[in-house]
Protein backbone atom coordinates (compact mmCIF):
# COMPACT_ATOMS: atom_id res chain seq x y z
CA UNK A 1 0.00 0.00 0.00
CA UNK A 2 2.96 2.33 -0.32
CA UNK A 3 1.75 3.71 -3.64
CA UNK A 4 -1.84 4.49 -2.47
CA UNK A 5 -3.25 7.77 -3.71
CA UNK A 6 -3.52 10.25 -0.84
CA UNK A 7 -5.80 13.23 -0.29
CA UNK A 8 -2.95 15.55 -1.18
CA UNK A 9 -2.57 13.98 -4.62
CA UNK A 10 -6.20 14.68 -5.38
CA UNK A 11 -5.87 18.24 -4.08
CA UNK A 12 -2.80 18.88 -6.21
CA UNK A 13 -4.60 17.72 -9.36
CA UNK A 14 -7.63 19.82 -8.46
CA UNK A 15 -5.42 22.82 -7.74
CA UNK A 16 -3.69 22.43 -11.11
CA UNK A 17 -7.04 22.21 -12.85
CA UNK A 18 -8.21 25.34 -11.05
CA UNK A 19 -5.04 27.23 -11.94
CA UNK A 20 -5.40 26.14 -15.58
CA UNK A 21 -8.96 27.43 -15.57
CA UNK A 22 -7.95 30.83 -14.19
CA UNK A 23 -5.04 31.05 -16.65
CA UNK A 24 -7.41 30.23 -19.51
CA UNK A 25 -9.80 33.02 -18.51
CA UNK A 26 -6.96 35.53 -18.32
CA UNK A 27 -4.96 34.54 -21.42
CA UNK A 28 -7.48 33.38 -24.04
CA UNK A 29 -9.48 35.96 -26.06
CA UNK A 30 -12.16 33.69 -27.48
CA UNK A 31 -15.40 33.78 -25.46
CA UNK A 32 -16.06 30.07 -26.00
CA UNK A 33 -12.63 29.03 -24.78
CA UNK A 34 -12.95 31.36 -21.78
CA UNK A 35 -16.23 29.70 -21.04
CA UNK A 36 -14.64 26.26 -21.23
CA UNK A 37 -11.96 27.40 -18.78
CA UNK A 38 -14.66 28.63 -16.42
CA UNK A 39 -16.31 25.21 -16.45
CA UNK A 40 -12.92 23.73 -15.61
CA UNK A 41 -12.89 25.80 -12.39
CA UNK A 42 -16.18 24.25 -11.32
CA UNK A 43 -14.86 20.76 -12.05
CA UNK A 44 -11.69 21.45 -10.08
CA UNK A 45 -13.93 22.31 -7.15
CA UNK A 46 -15.92 19.11 -7.70
CA UNK A 47 -12.77 17.03 -7.58
CA UNK A 48 -11.68 18.68 -4.34
CA UNK A 49 -15.13 18.19 -2.81
CA UNK A 50 -15.22 14.49 -3.70
CA UNK A 51 -11.71 13.92 -2.40
CA UNK A 52 -12.51 15.64 0.91
CA UNK A 53 -15.74 13.61 1.20
CA UNK A 54 -14.00 10.34 0.53
CA UNK A 55 -11.09 10.85 2.90
CA UNK A 56 -13.16 12.40 5.71
CA UNK A 57 -15.94 9.80 5.24
CA UNK A 58 -18.61 12.52 4.98
CA UNK A 59 -21.44 12.71 2.50
CA UNK A 60 -22.23 16.47 2.32
CA UNK A 61 -19.45 17.14 -0.16
CA UNK A 62 -20.83 14.63 -2.63
CA UNK A 63 -24.32 16.10 -2.28
CA UNK A 64 -22.93 19.51 -3.13
CA UNK A 65 -21.18 18.01 -6.18
CA UNK A 66 -24.54 16.91 -7.59
CA UNK A 67 -25.84 20.45 -7.20
CA UNK A 68 -22.72 21.90 -8.80
CA UNK A 69 -23.09 19.58 -11.81
CA UNK A 70 -26.73 20.57 -12.29
CA UNK A 71 -25.97 24.27 -11.91
CA UNK A 72 -23.02 24.05 -14.29
CA UNK A 73 -25.36 22.53 -16.90
CA UNK A 74 -27.82 25.41 -16.45
CA UNK A 75 -24.98 27.89 -16.68
CA UNK A 76 -23.73 26.32 -19.91
CA UNK A 77 -27.19 26.47 -21.48
CA UNK A 78 -27.55 30.16 -20.68
CA UNK A 79 -23.94 31.03 -21.43
CA UNK A 80 -23.86 29.40 -24.87
CA UNK A 81 -27.16 31.07 -25.76
CA UNK A 82 -25.70 34.48 -24.89
CA UNK A 83 -22.51 33.78 -26.86
CA UNK A 84 -24.56 32.65 -29.90
CA UNK A 85 -26.69 35.80 -29.70
CA UNK A 86 -23.49 37.86 -29.51
CA UNK A 87 -22.06 36.13 -32.58
CA UNK A 88 -25.25 36.70 -34.57
CA UNK A 89 -25.13 40.39 -33.83
CA UNK A 90 -21.37 41.07 -34.13
CA UNK A 91 -20.03 38.16 -36.26
CA UNK A 92 -17.23 37.72 -33.73
CA UNK A 93 -16.87 36.28 -30.25
CA UNK A 94 -13.46 37.74 -29.49
CA UNK A 95 -13.64 39.53 -26.15
CA UNK A 96 -11.21 42.17 -27.44
CA UNK A 97 -13.90 43.53 -29.72
CA UNK A 98 -16.58 43.36 -27.06
CA UNK A 99 -16.26 46.73 -25.37
CA UNK A 100 -18.31 49.53 -26.88
CA UNK A 101 -19.39 51.34 -23.70
CA UNK A 102 -16.76 53.60 -22.29
CA UNK A 103 -16.62 56.29 -19.60
Amino acid sequence: MTSAITLNDYLIVSGLLFALGIAGVIIRRNALVIYMALEMNLNAANLALIAFSKFNKLVEGQILVFFVIAIAAAEVAVGLAIIVALYRRKQTISVDQLTTMRL
Binding site: S14, F18, G21, I22, V25, A31, I34, Y35, L38, N41, L42, A44, A45, N46, A48, L49, A51, F52, N56, L58, E60, G61, I63, L64, F67, V68, I71, A74, E75, V78, G79, I82, I83, A85, L86, R89, K90, V95, L98, T99, T100, M101, L103
Partner: protein
Protein backbone atom coordinates in the same frame (compact mmCIF):
# COMPACT_ATOMS: atom_id res chain seq x y z
CA UNK B 1 -45.80 21.31 8.02
CA UNK B 2 -43.54 23.79 9.77
CA UNK B 3 -41.04 23.50 6.92
CA UNK B 4 -43.73 24.48 4.49
CA UNK B 5 -44.63 27.44 6.69
CA UNK B 6 -41.01 28.55 6.53
CA UNK B 7 -40.80 28.60 2.73
CA UNK B 8 -44.31 29.88 1.99
CA UNK B 9 -43.16 33.18 0.51
CA UNK B 10 -40.76 31.43 -1.86
CA UNK B 11 -43.53 28.99 -2.90
CA UNK B 12 -46.01 31.80 -3.42
CA UNK B 13 -43.74 33.82 -5.72
CA UNK B 14 -42.60 30.73 -7.69
CA UNK B 15 -46.18 29.58 -8.27
CA UNK B 16 -47.19 33.05 -9.40
CA UNK B 17 -44.23 33.18 -11.77
CA UNK B 18 -45.07 29.77 -13.27
CA UNK B 19 -48.73 30.81 -13.63
CA UNK B 20 -47.73 33.88 -15.62
CA UNK B 21 -45.65 31.66 -17.90
CA UNK B 22 -48.46 29.11 -18.40
CA UNK B 23 -51.23 31.63 -18.96
CA UNK B 24 -49.09 33.43 -21.51
CA UNK B 25 -48.31 30.16 -23.29
CA UNK B 26 -51.92 28.97 -23.63
CA UNK B 27 -54.11 32.08 -23.46
CA UNK B 28 -51.90 35.09 -24.16
CA UNK B 29 -53.16 38.39 -22.80
CA UNK B 30 -52.58 40.99 -25.51
CA UNK B 31 -51.91 43.89 -23.15
CA UNK B 32 -48.61 42.95 -21.53
CA UNK B 33 -48.55 46.11 -19.43
CA UNK B 34 -51.62 44.98 -17.47
CA UNK B 35 -49.93 41.65 -16.70
CA UNK B 36 -46.99 43.53 -15.21
CA UNK B 37 -49.21 45.76 -13.07
CA UNK B 38 -51.11 42.67 -11.88
CA UNK B 39 -47.86 40.91 -11.00
CA UNK B 40 -46.60 43.97 -9.12
CA UNK B 41 -49.91 44.22 -7.25
CA UNK B 42 -49.76 40.57 -6.28
CA UNK B 43 -46.22 40.93 -4.96
CA UNK B 44 -47.29 44.01 -3.00
CA UNK B 45 -50.00 41.87 -1.35
CA UNK B 46 -47.38 39.19 -0.57
CA UNK B 47 -45.26 41.95 0.99
CA UNK B 48 -48.15 43.04 3.23
CA UNK B 49 -48.77 39.39 4.10
CA UNK B 50 -45.13 38.91 5.08
CA UNK B 51 -45.64 41.38 7.94
CA UNK B 52 -48.06 38.86 9.47
CA UNK B 53 -45.34 36.18 9.52
CA UNK B 54 -43.55 35.60 12.79
CA UNK B 55 -39.86 34.67 13.17
CA UNK B 56 -39.21 31.09 14.34
CA UNK B 57 -36.23 30.25 16.55
CA UNK B 58 -35.59 26.75 15.07
CA UNK B 59 -33.89 25.89 11.80
CA UNK B 60 -35.57 23.95 8.99
CA UNK B 61 -34.46 21.36 6.43
CA UNK B 62 -31.72 19.85 8.59
CA UNK B 63 -30.36 23.17 9.74
CA UNK B 64 -30.12 24.66 6.25
CA UNK B 65 -32.81 27.28 6.47
CA UNK B 66 -33.59 29.95 9.05
CA UNK B 67 -36.63 32.13 9.54
CA UNK B 68 -35.22 34.58 12.09
CA UNK B 69 -35.87 38.34 12.24
CA UNK B 70 -32.85 38.90 9.98
CA UNK B 71 -34.30 36.61 7.29
CA UNK B 72 -37.73 38.24 7.51
CA UNK B 73 -36.22 41.74 7.27
CA UNK B 74 -34.46 40.82 4.04
CA UNK B 75 -37.46 38.93 2.64
CA UNK B 76 -39.58 42.08 3.03
CA UNK B 77 -36.84 44.15 1.41
CA UNK B 78 -36.66 41.79 -1.59
CA UNK B 79 -40.44 41.70 -2.01
CA UNK B 80 -40.53 45.49 -1.96
CA UNK B 81 -37.80 45.61 -4.60
CA UNK B 82 -39.57 42.98 -6.72
CA UNK B 83 -42.90 44.85 -6.63
CA UNK B 84 -41.24 48.09 -7.74
CA UNK B 85 -39.14 46.36 -10.40
CA UNK B 86 -42.24 44.63 -11.85
CA UNK B 87 -43.89 48.04 -12.04
CA UNK B 88 -40.82 49.32 -13.90
CA UNK B 89 -40.87 46.26 -16.17
CA UNK B 90 -44.51 46.97 -17.05
CA UNK B 91 -43.59 50.53 -18.01
CA UNK B 92 -40.56 49.23 -19.91
CA UNK B 93 -42.44 46.43 -21.72
CA UNK B 94 -43.00 48.31 -25.03
CA UNK B 95 -39.23 48.30 -25.52
CA UNK B 96 -38.94 44.51 -25.17
CA UNK B 97 -39.37 42.87 -28.58
CA UNK B 98 -40.47 39.41 -27.51
CA UNK B 99 -41.05 37.43 -24.33
CA UNK B 100 -42.50 40.11 -22.05
CA UNK B 101 -44.31 37.56 -19.86
CA UNK B 102 -41.08 35.57 -19.56
CA UNK B 103 -39.32 38.75 -18.47
CA UNK B 104 -41.77 39.16 -15.57
CA UNK B 105 -41.47 35.47 -14.69
CA UNK B 106 -37.65 35.59 -14.70
CA UNK B 107 -37.69 38.61 -12.39
CA UNK B 108 -39.89 36.61 -10.00
CA UNK B 109 -37.68 33.51 -10.11
CA UNK B 110 -34.68 35.72 -9.46
CA UNK B 111 -36.49 37.13 -6.43
CA UNK B 112 -37.17 33.58 -5.19
CA UNK B 113 -33.41 33.06 -5.15
CA UNK B 114 -33.02 36.25 -3.13
CA UNK B 115 -35.74 35.16 -0.68
CA UNK B 116 -33.80 31.92 -0.14
CA UNK B 117 -30.57 33.86 0.32
CA UNK B 118 -32.19 35.76 3.21
CA UNK B 119 -32.57 32.45 5.07
CA UNK B 120 -29.32 30.69 4.19
CA UNK B 121 -27.71 28.76 7.05
CA UNK B 122 -25.59 26.28 5.11
CA UNK B 123 -23.00 26.53 2.36
CA UNK B 124 -24.92 24.14 0.07
CA UNK B 125 -28.04 26.31 0.13
CA UNK B 126 -25.81 29.39 -0.16
CA UNK B 127 -24.33 28.17 -3.42
CA UNK B 128 -27.62 26.98 -4.93
CA UNK B 129 -29.58 30.14 -4.13
CA UNK B 130 -26.70 32.39 -5.17
CA UNK B 131 -26.58 30.65 -8.55
CA UNK B 132 -30.35 30.85 -8.96
CA UNK B 133 -30.01 34.63 -8.69
CA UNK B 134 -26.86 34.91 -10.81
CA UNK B 135 -27.96 32.70 -13.71
CA UNK B 136 -31.32 34.47 -14.02
CA UNK B 137 -29.43 37.75 -14.06
CA UNK B 138 -27.31 36.53 -17.02
CA UNK B 139 -30.52 36.08 -19.00
CA UNK B 140 -32.08 39.31 -17.76
CA UNK B 141 -29.02 41.46 -18.46
CA UNK B 142 -28.84 40.29 -22.08
CA UNK B 143 -32.61 40.34 -22.57
CA UNK B 144 -32.62 42.95 -25.36
CA UNK B 145 -30.78 40.44 -27.51
CA UNK B 146 -30.68 42.54 -30.68
CA UNK B 147 -29.01 45.48 -28.96
CA UNK B 148 -25.25 45.39 -28.62
CA UNK B 149 -24.99 47.16 -25.22
CA UNK B 150 -27.34 44.64 -23.63
CA UNK B 151 -25.42 41.69 -25.12
CA UNK B 152 -22.16 43.22 -24.00
CA UNK B 153 -23.54 43.63 -20.48
CA UNK B 154 -24.78 40.03 -20.50
CA UNK B 155 -21.47 38.60 -21.72
CA UNK B 156 -19.41 40.54 -19.20
CA UNK B 157 -21.70 39.58 -16.35
CA UNK B 158 -21.61 35.97 -17.54
CA UNK B 159 -17.83 35.66 -17.64
CA UNK B 160 -17.14 37.44 -14.36
CA UNK B 161 -20.15 35.85 -12.65
CA UNK B 162 -19.11 32.34 -13.65
CA UNK B 163 -15.57 33.11 -12.49
CA UNK B 164 -16.81 34.25 -9.10
CA UNK B 165 -19.02 31.19 -8.68
CA UNK B 166 -15.98 29.03 -9.46
CA UNK B 167 -14.12 30.80 -6.64
CA UNK B 168 -17.06 30.34 -4.29
CA UNK B 169 -17.39 26.57 -4.79
CA UNK B 170 -13.66 26.05 -4.59
CA UNK B 171 -13.61 28.00 -1.34
CA UNK B 172 -16.55 26.01 0.02
CA UNK B 173 -14.67 22.81 -0.84
CA UNK B 174 -11.72 23.89 1.32
CA UNK B 175 -13.88 25.09 4.21
CA UNK B 176 -15.73 21.78 4.10
CA UNK B 177 -12.51 19.82 3.78
CA UNK B 178 -10.83 21.42 6.80
CA UNK B 179 -13.83 21.50 9.14
CA UNK B 180 -15.97 18.60 7.88
CA UNK B 181 -19.21 20.59 7.85
CA UNK B 182 -21.10 23.00 5.62
CA UNK B 183 -23.54 24.18 8.29
CA UNK B 184 -22.93 27.68 9.72
CA UNK B 185 -23.90 26.80 13.31
CA UNK B 186 -21.71 23.70 13.40
CA UNK B 187 -18.90 25.64 11.76
CA UNK B 188 -19.02 28.28 14.49
CA UNK B 189 -18.95 25.53 17.16
CA UNK B 190 -15.91 23.89 15.57
CA UNK B 191 -14.05 27.17 15.17
CA UNK B 192 -14.85 28.17 18.76
CA UNK B 193 -13.52 24.88 20.14
CA UNK B 194 -10.27 25.15 18.17
CA UNK B 195 -7.27 26.56 19.96
CA UNK B 196 -4.59 28.41 18.07
CA UNK B 197 -4.93 30.00 14.64
CA UNK B 198 -7.09 28.25 12.01
CA UNK B 199 -5.43 26.08 9.36
CA UNK B 200 -4.07 27.91 6.33
CA UNK B 201 -6.21 25.73 4.03
CA UNK B 202 -9.26 27.04 5.90
CA UNK B 203 -8.14 30.65 5.49
CA UNK B 204 -7.62 29.97 1.77
CA UNK B 205 -11.20 28.68 1.48
CA UNK B 206 -12.59 31.60 3.41
CA UNK B 207 -10.80 34.12 1.20
CA UNK B 208 -12.17 32.44 -1.93
CA UNK B 209 -15.74 32.56 -0.60
CA UNK B 210 -15.28 36.23 0.28
CA UNK B 211 -14.09 36.81 -3.30
CA UNK B 212 -17.35 35.38 -4.62
CA UNK B 213 -19.40 37.56 -2.30
CA UNK B 214 -17.26 40.60 -3.08
CA UNK B 215 -18.27 40.17 -6.69
CA UNK B 216 -21.97 40.21 -5.76
CA UNK B 217 -21.74 43.46 -3.80
CA UNK B 218 -19.34 44.99 -6.37
CA UNK B 219 -16.57 45.78 -3.91
CA UNK B 220 -13.00 46.55 -4.97
CA UNK B 221 -11.17 44.58 -6.47
CA UNK B 222 -14.16 42.74 -8.00
CA UNK B 223 -16.08 45.81 -9.16
CA UNK B 224 -15.05 46.12 -12.83
CA UNK B 225 -18.26 44.61 -14.15
CA UNK B 226 -20.62 47.00 -12.40
CA UNK B 227 -20.48 50.15 -14.60
CA UNK B 228 -20.72 48.23 -17.90
CA UNK B 229 -23.49 45.92 -16.76
CA UNK B 230 -25.48 48.73 -15.13
CA UNK B 231 -25.28 50.77 -18.32
CA UNK B 232 -26.02 48.02 -20.83
CA UNK B 233 -28.71 45.99 -19.07
CA UNK B 234 -32.41 46.86 -19.49
CA UNK B 235 -33.22 49.54 -16.90
CA UNK B 236 -35.55 47.41 -14.69
CA UNK B 237 -32.78 44.80 -14.50
CA UNK B 238 -30.27 47.49 -13.53
CA UNK B 239 -32.61 48.58 -10.75
CA UNK B 240 -32.95 45.01 -9.53
CA UNK B 241 -29.16 44.58 -9.60
CA UNK B 242 -28.67 47.78 -7.64
CA UNK B 243 -31.30 47.05 -5.01
CA UNK B 244 -31.92 43.29 -4.87
CA UNK B 245 -28.61 41.76 -5.85
CA UNK B 246 -26.63 44.16 -3.69
CA UNK B 247 -28.82 43.50 -0.64
CA UNK B 248 -28.55 39.75 -1.29
CA UNK B 249 -24.77 40.00 -1.34
CA UNK B 250 -24.75 41.87 1.95
CA UNK B 251 -27.22 39.42 3.50
CA UNK B 252 -24.82 36.58 2.68
CA UNK B 253 -21.75 38.52 3.75
CA UNK B 254 -23.27 39.31 7.16
CA UNK B 255 -24.51 35.74 7.64
CA UNK B 256 -21.21 34.13 6.67
CA UNK B 257 -18.96 36.55 8.55
CA UNK B 258 -21.09 36.96 11.68
CA UNK B 259 -22.44 33.45 12.23
CA UNK B 260 -20.32 30.77 10.55
CA UNK B 261 -16.98 32.51 10.65
CA UNK B 262 -17.47 34.91 13.58
CA UNK B 263 -14.52 33.57 15.61
CA UNK B 264 -12.25 34.15 12.61
CA UNK B 265 -13.76 37.35 11.22
CA UNK B 266 -13.10 39.17 14.51
CA UNK B 267 -9.43 39.09 13.54
CA UNK B 268 -10.08 39.73 9.84
CA UNK B 269 -11.85 43.07 10.05
CA UNK B 270 -8.69 44.92 8.97
CA UNK B 271 -8.96 43.31 5.51
CA UNK B 272 -12.59 44.37 5.17
CA UNK B 273 -11.77 47.86 6.38
CA UNK B 274 -9.11 48.23 3.67
CA UNK B 275 -11.54 46.95 1.02
CA UNK B 276 -14.17 49.41 2.29
CA UNK B 277 -11.79 52.36 1.95
CA UNK B 278 -10.69 51.34 -1.56
CA UNK B 279 -14.27 50.73 -2.68
CA UNK B 280 -15.40 54.13 -1.37
CA UNK B 281 -12.69 55.97 -3.25
CA UNK B 282 -13.01 53.97 -6.49
CA UNK B 283 -16.78 54.32 -6.71
CA UNK B 284 -16.97 58.00 -5.92
CA UNK B 285 -13.96 59.11 -7.97
CA UNK B 286 -15.02 56.98 -10.94
CA UNK B 287 -18.47 58.56 -11.01
CA UNK B 288 -17.17 62.11 -11.55
CA UNK B 289 -16.62 62.10 -15.34
CA UNK B 290 -19.71 60.04 -16.24
CA UNK B 291 -22.36 61.39 -18.57
CA UNK B 292 -24.67 58.38 -18.72
CA UNK B 293 -27.00 58.27 -15.73
CA UNK B 294 -27.12 54.46 -15.51
CA UNK B 295 -23.33 54.28 -15.60
CA UNK B 296 -23.16 57.02 -12.97
CA UNK B 297 -25.49 54.98 -10.76
CA UNK B 298 -23.25 51.94 -11.42
CA UNK B 299 -20.27 53.79 -9.96
CA UNK B 300 -22.44 55.20 -7.21
CA UNK B 301 -23.52 51.66 -6.29
CA UNK B 302 -19.86 50.71 -5.92
CA UNK B 303 -19.43 53.72 -3.63
CA UNK B 304 -22.44 52.73 -1.55
CA UNK B 305 -21.08 49.18 -1.21
CA UNK B 306 -18.05 50.92 0.32
CA UNK B 307 -20.19 52.81 2.88
CA UNK B 308 -21.91 49.59 3.88
CA UNK B 309 -18.60 47.68 4.09
CA UNK B 310 -17.58 50.31 6.67
CA UNK B 311 -20.42 49.02 8.84
CA UNK B 312 -19.42 45.40 8.18
CA UNK B 313 -15.79 46.13 9.05
CA UNK B 314 -16.78 47.67 12.38
CA UNK B 315 -17.88 44.17 13.59
CA UNK B 316 -20.18 45.54 16.29
CA UNK B 317 -23.94 45.42 16.86
CA UNK B 318 -24.28 49.07 15.85
CA UNK B 319 -22.54 48.39 12.53
CA UNK B 320 -24.69 45.36 11.65
CA UNK B 321 -27.87 47.31 12.43
CA UNK B 322 -26.58 50.29 10.45
CA UNK B 323 -25.92 48.14 7.37
CA UNK B 324 -29.46 46.77 7.52
CA UNK B 325 -30.95 50.25 7.96
CA UNK B 326 -28.84 51.56 5.09
CA UNK B 327 -29.98 48.76 2.77
CA UNK B 328 -33.61 49.49 3.66
CA UNK B 329 -33.46 53.19 2.88
CA UNK B 330 -31.14 52.62 -0.10
CA UNK B 331 -33.85 50.42 -1.65
CA UNK B 332 -36.43 53.23 -1.57
CA UNK B 333 -33.94 55.82 -2.80
CA UNK B 334 -32.62 53.77 -5.70
CA UNK B 335 -36.04 52.48 -6.75
CA UNK B 336 -37.26 56.08 -6.86
CA UNK B 337 -34.33 57.09 -9.07
CA UNK B 338 -34.83 54.19 -11.48
CA UNK B 339 -38.60 54.69 -11.69
CA UNK B 340 -37.96 58.27 -12.75
CA UNK B 341 -35.23 57.25 -15.21
CA UNK B 342 -37.54 54.71 -16.87
CA UNK B 343 -40.29 57.30 -17.28
CA UNK B 344 -37.86 59.82 -18.79
CA UNK B 345 -36.13 57.38 -21.15
CA UNK B 346 -39.51 56.11 -22.34
CA UNK B 347 -40.19 59.68 -23.52
CA UNK B 348 -36.73 60.78 -24.69
CA UNK B 349 -35.15 57.45 -25.68
CA UNK B 350 -31.83 58.43 -24.15
CA UNK B 351 -30.25 57.91 -20.75
CA UNK B 352 -27.46 60.46 -21.16
CA UNK B 353 -27.51 63.09 -18.41
CA UNK B 354 -28.02 66.06 -20.84
CA UNK B 355 -31.36 64.54 -21.84
CA UNK B 356 -32.52 65.11 -18.26
CA UNK B 357 -32.04 68.89 -18.51
CA UNK B 358 -35.12 70.92 -17.79
CA UNK B 359 -36.87 67.88 -16.33
CA UNK B 360 -38.18 70.00 -13.46
CA UNK B 361 -40.28 71.94 -15.97
CA UNK B 362 -41.15 69.07 -18.30
CA UNK B 363 -42.53 66.94 -15.50
CA UNK B 364 -42.46 68.39 -11.96
CA UNK B 365 -43.05 65.01 -10.29
CA UNK B 366 -40.26 63.21 -12.19
CA UNK B 367 -37.89 66.11 -11.62
CA UNK B 368 -38.63 66.19 -7.91
CA UNK B 369 -38.35 62.40 -7.57
CA UNK B 370 -34.99 62.20 -9.32
CA UNK B 371 -33.69 65.27 -7.47
CA UNK B 372 -34.73 63.93 -4.05
CA UNK B 373 -33.23 60.51 -4.71
CA UNK B 374 -29.91 62.06 -5.80
CA UNK B 375 -29.88 64.19 -2.64
CA UNK B 376 -30.68 61.15 -0.51
CA UNK B 377 -27.86 59.18 -2.19
CA UNK B 378 -25.52 62.07 -1.44
CA UNK B 379 -26.71 62.03 2.18
CA UNK B 380 -28.29 65.44 2.58
CA UNK B 381 -30.59 65.89 5.59
CA UNK B 382 -33.47 65.46 6.20
CA UNK B 383 -33.59 62.66 3.62
CA UNK B 384 -33.17 59.03 4.62
CA UNK B 385 -29.66 58.68 3.16
CA UNK B 386 -28.30 61.15 5.70
CA UNK B 387 -29.43 59.15 8.71
CA UNK B 388 -28.20 55.92 7.09
CA UNK B 389 -24.69 57.35 6.66
CA UNK B 390 -24.84 58.87 10.14
CA UNK B 391 -25.38 55.43 11.68
CA UNK B 392 -22.59 53.82 9.65
CA UNK B 393 -20.13 56.52 10.70
CA UNK B 394 -21.29 56.17 14.32
CA UNK B 395 -20.52 52.45 14.18
CA UNK B 396 -17.03 53.06 12.79
CA UNK B 397 -16.30 55.75 15.38
CA UNK B 398 -17.48 53.46 18.16
CA UNK B 399 -15.06 50.87 16.90
CA UNK B 400 -12.30 53.48 16.70
CA UNK B 401 -12.57 53.95 20.50
CA UNK B 402 -10.71 50.65 20.88
CA UNK B 403 -8.74 50.61 17.61
CA UNK B 404 -7.71 54.09 16.54
CA UNK B 405 -6.88 52.99 12.97
CA UNK B 406 -10.60 53.11 12.29
CA UNK B 407 -10.49 56.92 12.39
CA UNK B 408 -8.70 56.69 9.03
CA UNK B 409 -11.63 54.71 7.60
CA UNK B 410 -14.10 57.29 8.93
CA UNK B 411 -12.01 60.06 7.35
CA UNK B 412 -11.98 58.29 3.96
CA UNK B 413 -15.74 57.92 4.24
CA UNK B 414 -16.12 61.64 4.92
CA UNK B 415 -13.95 62.52 1.91
CA UNK B 416 -16.04 60.18 -0.25
CA UNK B 417 -19.25 61.95 0.85
CA UNK B 418 -17.80 65.29 -0.20
CA UNK B 419 -16.69 63.95 -3.60
CA UNK B 420 -20.09 62.38 -4.18
CA UNK B 421 -21.86 65.72 -3.67
CA UNK B 422 -20.25 66.95 -6.87
CA UNK B 423 -21.72 64.42 -9.28
CA UNK B 424 -25.07 64.01 -7.53
CA UNK B 425 -25.54 67.78 -7.63
CA UNK B 426 -24.52 67.67 -11.30
CA UNK B 427 -27.67 65.67 -12.02
CA UNK B 428 -29.69 68.09 -9.86
CA UNK B 429 -28.28 71.01 -11.87
CA UNK B 430 -29.39 69.39 -15.12
CA UNK B 431 -32.89 68.89 -13.73
CA UNK B 432 -33.53 72.40 -12.39
CA UNK B 433 -30.99 74.85 -13.79
CA UNK B 434 -30.49 73.82 -17.42
CA UNK B 435 -32.98 74.50 -20.18
CA UNK B 436 -34.44 71.61 -22.14
CA UNK B 437 -34.02 71.54 -25.92
CA UNK B 438 -37.35 69.83 -26.29
CA UNK B 439 -39.72 71.16 -23.63
CA UNK B 440 -42.77 68.95 -24.32
CA UNK B 441 -44.24 67.74 -21.02
CA UNK B 442 -43.66 64.07 -20.14
CA UNK B 443 -46.78 62.07 -19.32
CA UNK B 444 -46.50 59.87 -16.24
CA UNK B 445 -48.86 56.89 -15.93
CA UNK B 446 -50.97 56.44 -12.77
CA UNK B 447 -49.22 53.31 -11.40
CA UNK B 448 -45.86 55.00 -11.98
CA UNK B 449 -47.05 58.11 -10.16
CA UNK B 450 -48.14 55.90 -7.26
CA UNK B 451 -44.75 54.18 -7.12
CA UNK B 452 -42.89 57.50 -7.21
CA UNK B 453 -45.03 59.00 -4.44
CA UNK B 454 -44.58 55.95 -2.21
CA UNK B 455 -40.80 56.07 -2.63
CA UNK B 456 -40.60 59.83 -2.05
CA UNK B 457 -42.78 59.64 1.06
CA UNK B 458 -40.62 56.78 2.34
CA UNK B 459 -37.40 58.72 1.69
CA UNK B 460 -38.60 61.80 3.54
CA UNK B 461 -40.52 59.79 6.16
CA UNK B 462 -37.58 57.54 7.07
CA UNK B 463 -35.34 60.60 7.18
CA UNK B 464 -37.55 62.36 9.74
CA UNK B 465 -39.12 59.49 11.70
CA UNK B 466 -36.21 57.05 11.77
CA UNK B 467 -37.46 55.06 14.77
CA UNK B 468 -39.55 52.29 13.10
CA UNK B 469 -36.86 51.27 10.60
CA UNK B 470 -34.07 51.63 13.16
CA UNK B 471 -36.04 49.42 15.52
CA UNK B 472 -36.63 46.80 12.81
CA UNK B 473 -32.98 46.79 11.74
CA UNK B 474 -31.70 46.51 15.32
CA UNK B 475 -34.10 43.62 16.01
CA UNK B 476 -32.86 41.90 12.84
CA UNK B 477 -29.19 42.47 13.73
CA UNK B 478 -29.76 40.93 17.17
CA UNK B 479 -29.55 37.44 15.66
CA UNK B 480 -25.77 37.87 15.62
CA UNK B 481 -23.90 37.60 18.90
CA UNK B 482 -22.08 40.93 18.50
CA UNK B 483 -21.53 43.67 21.07
Amino acid sequence: MMSLYAIQLECLISIWGILILLVDAFKPIPNKRTVGYLAAGFVAVALLYSFAMQPVPDTFFHGMFRLDPFALYFKRLFLLALAAVLLMAAEFSPRIESGVAEFYALLMFCAVGMLLIASVNDFILLFVSLELVTITFYVLASYLRRQIPSLEAGTKYLILGALSSGFTVYGIAYIFGTTGTTNFDKLAEILNSQTGPPASAFIFGMLLVLTGLGFKIASVPFQVWAPDVYQGAPTPVTAFLAVGSKAAGFALLLRVLYTGLLPVSLSWNALIAVLAGATLLYGNLGAIPQHNIKRLLGYSSIGHAGYMLMGVAAVNALGAGAVLFYLGQYAFTNLCAFLAIIAVTAATGSDEIPSFSGLGKRSPILGLALFLSMMSLAGIPPLSGFFGKFQLFAAVVQRAQTDSKYYVLAAIGAVAVVISLYFYLGVGRAIYLQEAEDATPIVVSKPMRFGLVVCMVAMIGIGIFQRPLVHASIMAAKVFSLH
